[in-house]
Amino acid sequence: MTNEELKVKLSELLPSATYEEGGQWLNVNIDHRDWLYFANSLRNHAELNFDYLFCLTCVDWKTHLTMVYHLDSTQYRHTAVIKSKLDRTQPHIESVSHIWRTADFHEREVYELFGVNFLNHPDLRLLILPEGWEGKNPLRKDFEDPINMIKL
């Protein structure tokens, strides 16, 4: 499917979605409350079949956080980028680890580095950071390490 066709299809599934174009891939902005329904549709819809989550990350914009999901269909070879704004003080979004198995570790990584709470995640705990790091999120823009930080 081309980006234009994808856009029509996705609008049928979720009319509230907005789009950014101009890049290689179609960017879809959605409300974080729609994510679980939308993710299920993307995965299970016969004409979409987004069966491959090849990137899951988060961006700290200082005013808010944005979750970014890169999805690909190995059958139809089309790609979409789903973005969702999160509140910076209480960031939470539904986990998609039961839809795409790879999301399990990626969500744990975003949890430890950005402090996003993934609802209904099977095993939400630190992935790489050492014990006792809960609550400190090193990839937040305002993070300061009292021991290692050397300021310019």
């Binding site: 790489i128 050492p130 090193p138 993070f143 390490d145 290692n148 930080m149 050397i150 300021k151 310019l152």
Partner: protein, 195 residues
């Protein structure tokens, strides 16, 4: 008359050219009618042997390791200097080349590897990360600001990453240091007394 004996019949360094050759055997020949007697010091022979057969530990934590592999390969060929036997166990290694970034999680591993090596053991800090944290000196939560916070270092190399020539130079510098016959502590005390 031996070729190694000079005009006055005095001792001379045993080397093919008769001069001060890098890596030459540390001794001299006392000529006799039947050929000659080799005169040297056992300590110097031990240091000479050690410096020319340093086995590095296989230890690379980031991009410097790529340069280290290049140094090991045919073009630069560190076996010319006796470094070719890279060991995957610290118990058989003489030198750690810290080729890359040391993070807080890696620091205890590095310390343990160093402790497991048999004396005498040497350390080369390769590149900016191993020397000072390098590009990760400011605003990082995970990087050790120089491997010498964890283990003592003999030779530092600048560069990010250093070229293979720089690593070879560091290795030759380490060999010279060993041939001087001083321990790390002795060298440190000497430099202190100079100040």
């Amino acid at each position: 008359m031996s070729d190694l004996q000079n005009i006055n019949g005095e001792f001379e360094n045993v080397s093919p050219t008769g001069g001060e050759l890098e890596g030459a055997f540390p001794g001299s020949v006392h000529p006799t009618a039947s050929g000659g007697i080799l005169v040297t010091k056992l300590d110097e022979v031990i240091n000479w042997a050690r410096s020319n057969s340093l086995w590095p530990l296989v230890f690379g934590t980031s991009c410097c390791a790529i340069e280290m592999m290049s140094t090991a390969s045919a073009k630069y060929d560190w076996s010319r200097f006796g470094f070719e036997v890279a060991r995957a166990t610290p118990r058989q290694a003489d030198v750690i080349i810290i080729a890359g970034t040391i993070v807080n999680k890696m620091a205890p591993v590095l310390k343990r590897l160093y402790d497991q090596m048999a004396d005498p053991k040497y350390v080369i800090a390769m590149g900016a990360c191993a020397t000072s944290g390098g590009p990760f000196f400011y605003n990082t939560y995970s990087v050790v600001k120089g491997a010498d916070h964890v283990i003592p270092v003999d030779v530092y190399i600048a560069g990010c990453p250093p070229r293979p020539e720089a690593l070879l130079h560091a290795m030759i510098t380490l060999q010279r240091k060993i041939k001087m016959g001083l321990t790390r502590e002795q060298i440190r005390n000497e430099s202190k007394s100079e100040v």
